[in-house]
C-alpha cells in the first residue's frame, strides 16, 4: 500500500505540475513576472490539495481529468498565498522548501504582483475548463473565492498575524487553522466529490473528512517544527518557538498533540468507512499527511 501510495502521489504531482506550468508558459506575460510566477510554482511543494481533490473525485467514480483544471487553480491559489505570506511585511521568510523565497529571489514588488497574478489566473483557468459546464464553473468559482477570501484563507492569515506573541487557546488556534488551511482542504475534497457527481450526503461526509484532514495536517506541521529534520523540511525548525507562536505542542505538549492528531486520523477514517469509500486513496492519504516528515 505504501509503495502504491507513493507512486500515486508522484504520478499526480507530475501531471499537476505539467498542467500548471503549461498554462503559465503559453500565456503572454512580461518576462520577469512570468519567471517569478514559474519560480514559485516550480519550487516544489507536495501538491496535497490537488491530490486530495483528484482522490476525492476518483473515490466517487470520477477521473483526474474531470477535476484537473480546478486542481490547478487550487494550487495556483495556494502558491500565491505562500508568496504573499513570506513577504517582509507578513512572516518575513527568506527560505521556503530549501530555496530563497520569491521576494528574495526577485524583489518585493515582483513577488506581490506574481501573487496577484496567480490568484487572478486561478479563476481564469476554471472559466476555460472544457470539461466543466457553466453551472459547475460558477459553483466551483463561488466556493473557491469564499474558501480563499476574506471569510476564509485571508481571514486566517490576518488572525494568525494578530495572534503572534499573544496567548491564545486551543479553540482560537483551531479557528485560525480552519480558516488559513482547512477551508482550502475542504474545498479540495468537497469539490472533487461534487464534480464526480457525489450526492449531498456524500459531499457532507467528505467535507467533514476534510475538516479532520485540515486539523491533523496542521498538528503535524507544528510537531515537525519541534521534532522535524531541517534538511527534509527545507526550512528552519524551531521558528514557531522563536516567534512565541501558539502551537499544538506548546499548548498540549508533544504527547498531547500526537494524541489529538491520532484522534483526527481515526475520525477521518471512520467518515470514509461510513461513506463506503474507505478503500479509496483518501484513506491512504490520511496516514500520509499524518506521518509525513516534510
Amino acid at each position: 500500500m505504501a509503495v502504491q501510495l507513493n507512486d500515486y502521489i508522484k504520478e499526480n504531482q507530475l501531471i499537476v505540475n505539467q498542467a500548471i506550468i503549461e498554462i503559465v508558459e503559453r500565456m503572454n506575460i512580461p518576462t520577469t513576472l512570468k519567471n517569478s510566477m514559474l519560480y514559485s510554482i516550480k519550487a516544489g511543494g507536495k501538491r496535497i490539495r490537488p491530490i486530495l481533490m483528484i482522490a476525492s473525485a476518483e473515490a466517487f467514480g470520477g477521473t483526474r481529468d474531470d477535476v484537473l483544471p480546478v486542481a490547478v487553480a487550487l494550487e495556483m491559489i495556494h502558491t500565491y498565498s505562500l508568496i504573499h505570506d513570506d513577504l517582509p511585511a507578513m512572516d518575513d521568510d527568506q527560505l521556503r522548501r530549501g530555496q530563497p523565497t520569491n521576494h528574495i529571489q526577485f524583489d518585493e514588488a515582483t513577488a506581490i504582483l506574481a501573487g496577484d497574478a496567480l490568484l487572478t489566473m486561478a479563476f481564469q483557468v476554471i472559466t476555460e475548463a472544457k470539461q466543466l459546464s457553466a453551472e459547475q464553473k460558477v459553483t466551483v468559482i463561488n466556493r473557491l473565492s469564499i474558501a480563499s477570501g476574506s471569510s476564509g484563507m485571508v481571514a486566517g492569515q490576518i488572525l494568525d498575524l494578530e495572534a503572534e506573541e499573544k496567548q491564545i487557546d486551543i479553540a482560537q488556534l483551531e479557528q485560525i487553522h480552519q480558516l488559513k488551511t482547512g477551508e482550502l482542504l475542504i474545498f479540495a475534497v468537497e469539490m472533487g466529490a461534487y464534480l464526480a457527481g457525489a450526492s449531498q450526503t456524500e459531499r457532507l461526509a467528505v467535507k467533514q473528512y476534510g475538516h479532520h484532514i485540515g486539523l491533523l495536517f496542521q498538528i503535524q506541521d507544528d510537531i515537525l517544527d519541534v521534532e522535524g529534520d531541517q534538511i527534509k523540511l527545507g526550512k528552519q525548525v524551531g521558528s514557531d518557538q522563536d516567534n512565541e507562536k501558539s502551537t499544538y505542542p506548546k499548548l498540549l505538549g508533544i504527547d498531547g498533540a500526537i494524541k489529538v492528531k491520532e484522534k483526527n486520523v481515526a475520525m477521518a477514517i471512520k467518515l470514509l468507512e461510513e461513506a463506503t469509500i474507505a478503500n479509496s486513496m483518501l484513506a491512504s492519504l490520511v496516514n500520509y499527511i499524518s506521518d509525513r516528515d516534510a
Copy 2:
C-alpha cells in the same frame, strides 16, 4: 447637458457605493481586515469604471440593475490595485485622494491582505449575481480575470515599474497604459454592452471606444500631474517629473499631449456615432473624462 451628466454621475456613484459597502458589510470578515477594505472603498474615487459599464448597458437598452454586481466587482478590482500599487515596494505613495494610503492608515500586512481579499471577493460577487445566467457569469469572470491579470493590469503594473527612470517611447508608453488602465476600461464598456444584449458589431465598436477612452484618460492624468490643482486632486502634483517618469507631456510637450487627447476624443465620439449611440451618456462621459480636473 453638463448638469444632467453631473446628476447622472452622482446618482450612479451613490448606488455603486451603497452596493459595494453593503456587500462587504454583511460578510463575516475579521474586524481589522473589514475596516481596511472599507477604508479604501470609502476613500472616494470617481467610480468611472462602473459608470462606464452602466452607461454602456443603457446605451444598448439594458439597465443599471443588469450590470450592477459586475460593476461592483470591477470597482473592487480597481480598489485592490490601488492599495497594492501604493505599497512601499511599489509606488510608495503616502497619500491618495487626500487621505493616507491603506498601508499608512493600517499597516503593510493588512494592506496586502485587504487587496487580496477585494480581488478574491470580486469573483465571488459575480458568481452570486441573481440577474445573470451561468453562461454570463462565466464570460464576465473570464474577461475580468484576463483584463486584470498577468496579461492585463498586473502586466501593466510590472512594465510601469520597470520603465521607471528609463527612456521609453510613445509606443511603449501606450502599451503600458493600455494594459494598466485600458483593459479594465474596455472590460467595462464591452461587458456592459454584452450584458445588455448588444450584437458582436456593437460590442466591437464599444471596445474601440473603450480603447480611446483609456488613452485620453491617461493623457489627462499626465496633464493634471503638470497643470493640476493639488487640492482638487488630493495628491501631490509634479510627482511624475520628480520620478523622471515617461509621460505624454514629457514626450510630446503639453500642447502635443492636448492634441493627441483631442484626437482620441474625436475618435471616441465618431465610434459612438457610427454605432448610433452618440446620444447616450457614453458621449457625455468622453468630455467628462477628457476635461476632468481631478
